[in-house]
């Protein structure tokens, strides 16, 4: 998911917290604080919704120690070195029974040109394959095709001994901004588990961190109703990030000191990444509008189901639930469903296949690696 979607999800979560807190404390207390006293409490949701990625890409990334770094430049390209280093790291992890990290740096040529190279772990033949690609331009990653190297200079492979357990069969591209790193863990059964950008989605993306950050609410507003609201906004805003990420494939490490591995995601979003982002953002914006309406002094739109059942804001909980359901059915689902089927139809007609699980996973990881989407 893109940073913007996380940010919006955080804001939306905050509006839900405000609605609930408003109903809990009564007298329209929290809403008045926002509308009349111009409190900015909802922004906390957005800030903490985007924070897990900020932590990973601004801090955790730099705290990662690397045993090996592969740093080449345009005049000194050696695919063999890349393959050898990776193979060596895998062997070392197995032999010394410890975690070994390898950093693959990008090859920068000019302000927006990089040389691309690919790394692939061939787990069946116990081989690491490295291929040097073309020079590409900018964030669009458009290749300059006359910059491909001759076959013999561009290809290299190296063998490693232990059995490698790597979930992402497809190719890893190293191209723009900062490169990816791999972490090799020795497993109990004698094999080696490879982890891609190991610093990402670990302790930063955890339920625990959300709990730890939440008391900031009390620091801002004291133990007042507003303070408690901020507490929940921060915690749930933080968790909203982890939840949205979990709809993807990669998953997160949920309770860091107690668990060490990432829990695989729900695998819902798949390759419809752009659409998934748009749908999330649309849903979030619509829900925010609904919540703002729910706490506004004047009710600007009423939902027919609630009117039909004779519910008003005086019995808030029933009214809110019925209206929200009605709103989702009338305004949120139809555009999403219609556009989804239209896109699916077009894809089918054009013969664009759904990506396989592994390809989708790799693509998702590639998007994560450079941190551009944050």
């Amino acid at each position: 998911m893109k940073g913007f979607a996380h940010f919006l999800a955080g804001l939306t979560t905050a509006t839900f917290v405000v609605v609930i807190a408003n109903a809990f404390y009564g007298h329209n207390m929290i809403a008045n604080a926002i509308i009349q006293n111009k409190e900015l409490i909802i922004i906390l949701g957005g800030i903490f919704g985007i924070l897990p990625d900020t932590i990973d890409f601004r801090f955790a990334k730099y705290l990662q120690k690397h045993d090996y770094e592969v740093d080449m430049d345009e005049w000194n390209i050696d695919p063999q070195r890349v393959a050898d280093t990776l193979a060596k790291a895998i062997n070392q992890a197995h032999d010394e029974n410890r975690e070994v990290n390898v950093m693959l740096h990008t090859i920068k040529i000019s302000s927006d040109q990089w040389r691309q190279y690919n790394v692939r772990f061939d787990t069946e033949n116990n081989k690491v394959v490295c291929e040097i690609g073309p020079i590409i331009s900018g964030f669009e990653k458009r290749p300059y095709i006359n910059t491909y190297l001759p076959e013999d200079k561009a290809y290299a492979e190296a063998e490693f001994k232990p059995k490698l357990n790597y979930g992402y069969d497809a190719v890893t591209h190293v191209d723009i901004l900062s490169g990816p790193d791999f972490s090799f863990f020795p497993e109990k059964d004698g094999s080696v588990r490879a982890d891609f950008i190991p610093w990402h989605r670990r302790w930063g993306h955890s339920i625990t961190m959300g709990v730890l950050f939440a008391p900031i609410g009390f620091m801002l507003y004291g133990f007042t109703p507003l303070g408690w609201t901020a507490f929940w906004i921060i915690m749930l805003g933080y968790w909203s990030h982890i939840l949205t990420d979990h709809f993807g494939l990669m998953g997160s490490n949920m309770f860091p000191p107690f668990t060490t591995r990432r829990v695989p995601g729900f695998k819902v979003t798949r390759s419809m990444s752009t659409l998934a982002n748009i749908y999330t953002n649309y849903t979030n914006i619509m829900l925010m509008i609904f919540n703002m309406n729910a706490w506004s002094p004047v009710l600007y739109f009423k939902m027919p189901w609630a009117t039909m059942l004779g519910l008003t804001r005086s019995n808030f909980v029933e009214w809110y639930i019925v209206s929200l359901l009605n709103y989702i059915v009338y305004y949120i689902l139809p555009p999403i469903l219609v556009s989804y089927f239209v896109v699916a139809y077009i894809r089918k007609r054009k013969g664009i296949e759904e990506l396989s699980d592994k390809e989708a996973r790799t693509r998702e990881q590639m998007e994560e690696v450079s941190g551009v989407n944050v």
């Binding site: 331009s137 458009r142 290749p143 300059y144 095709i145 006359n146 910059t147």
Partner: protein, 444 residues
């Protein structure tokens, strides 16, 4: 082959340009984009057509307009129920307005600033009883109002005028016409009085023509022109009751009352329309006739009424020494002479233009210029009466308004009088009408 994007030479079978990374095959022609641009012509012309026809807003009922519609653009239709008003500033008229009703409620339509002059030019100022279709910005307040921002949004329809004459209107009963009924009639203006709401001109000494101030302020009705001869007037009829009957009095049919007078004894009665048959100044009584029944009315002062007048009476039905009569003594009682008035529309036609002629005042309603010496000068409550000595005979000259003469005239002063020959109590007199070309000039 040349790259279609950067124009550099590339090998023939390339898909992606090695120099600029552009895709050689999958491209959008700029001429296709031209089509996109030209399709905007359709959009533009559709909107232009919509603007031309401008059938946008549905008609709202005035009663349905609420505070939610404040500052909204609304479309209403209705009949003009009040006569237009105008706000005058030293620089001219800044605002005109009129009230319309569609049966559900009333709304004031306002036209501001530079549109006022345009409205006059396009003759878009309605008269009482006109049907109006108007669109504009609604504002909600103690009175609902609507501001017109462009004159094409204001449509005025004059419904058919029925041709009447002075006598038919003057002798009409309250039931002959309906309020706001459009009429046209011909006649001469024989007198003009000014009031806060405008002017009341008398047509042929019988029918009052009410000219709202707005029309004179906007110079749509010019009293000088109106007074220059026989004019076709347009307007709407309005039944004028000097005092509104109050609800404490029961409107009665006199013939019914006289069948069982005892049951009406000492009750408050209201007789909307009666003819004065006779009067007795010393006894203070009038003999009136209504519903083919005669009855005596006792009042404090009956000198104002003349035989033949139509009156409206509110009083107490009593038995006075065995005679049934109506006593009009208390404060809420009244005897008035209601009449049909014409509220002017902002249009008129001069049928026969007259000019002042030097002749002896013999022909009724002719304009004369006469010079002579002041024989007698006496101020009255609403003007001056001059006795003019000219050509060895005397004429009475009534100057309607103090504005027409500069100060008091002394006997023996030589003056030139321009006025209209009118009739007063059976005798001819020259009337110098106010606000017209009539005048009294002192010759040094």
């Amino acid at each position: 082959m040349k790259c279609p994007s950067c124009g550099l030479e590339i090998p023939d079978d390339t898909v992606i340009c090695p120099y600029c990374t552009a895709h050689v095959k999958k491209r959008v022609r700029i001429k296709t984009l031209y089509i996109l641009a030209l399709s905007l012509i359709i959009v533009s012309s559709v909107y232009a057509t919509l603007a031309y026809t401008n059938s946008g807003v549905g008609v709202s009922k005035i009663a349905n307009l609420s505070i939610d519609d404040n500052y909204r653009f609304v479309h209403v239709q209705g009949t003009v129920t009040g006569y237009p008003f105008a706000y005058e500033t030293p620089y001219g008229v800044s605002q005109i307005g009129f009230t319309i009703s569609d049966g559900t409620g009333q709304l004031t339509v306002k036209i501001y600033s530079n549109l006022v002059a345009q409205a006059v030019k396009e003759h878009k100022v309605p008269g009482l009883g006109d049907w109006v279709d108007v669109q504009g910005t609604f504002s909600y307040g103690t009175r609902k109002s609507l501001t017109v921002n462009d004159l094409y949004l204001l449509q005025i329809k004059h419904t058919g005028y029925s041709e009447e004459n002075v006598n038919s209107i003057a002798s009409a009963t309250p039931w002959t016409f309906k309020n706001n009924e459009p009429v046209t009639l011909k006649g001469n203006i024989t007198g003009v009085r000014q009031y806060s709401f405008g002017y009341i001109a008398t047509i042929d000494n019988r029918v009052d023509l009410l000219i709202p101030k707005a029309y004179t302020a906007l110079n749509m009705l010019n009293l000088r022109e109106l007074g220059s001869g026989v004019v076709q007037f347009y307007g709407a009829l309005l039944f004028y009751q000097p005092v509104k009957p109050s609800s404490d009095y029961t409107t009665v049919n006199l013939s019914e009352v006289m069948k069982a007078p005892e049951s009406y004894n000492r009750t408050n009665v209201h007789i909307p329309w009666a003819d004065v048959l006779a009067k007795n100044d010393t006894a203070g009584t009038l003999l009136i006739r209504a519903n083919e029944t005669n009855i005596t009315v006792y009042a404090k002062d009956v000198r104002r009424y003349r035989v033949g007048d139509h009156v409206e009476i509110q009083g107490k039905f009593v038995n006075y020494h065995g005679e049934w009569e109506i006593s009009v003594l208390r404060k809420t009682d009244f005897i008035t002479t209601p009449s049909w008035e014409v509220v002017a529309h902002p249009s008129f036609k001069v049928i026969e233009k007259k000019s002042y002629v030097n002749e002896t005042p013999e022909r009724l309603n002719s304009l004369v210029r006469i010079s002579g010496v002041v024989a007698d000068f006496r101020p009255l409550s609403s003007g001056y009466l001059i006795t003019l000595w000219s050509n060895n005979s005397s004429y009475s000259v009534y100057v309607e308004n103090v504005m027409s003469v500069s100060g008091a005239l002394n006997s023996g002063e030589k003056i030139v009088v321009k006025g209209m020959v009118t009739e007063y109590n059976g005798a001819l007199e020259i009337k110098v009408r106010a606000y017209t070309d009539d005048s009294v000039e002192v010759i040094a």
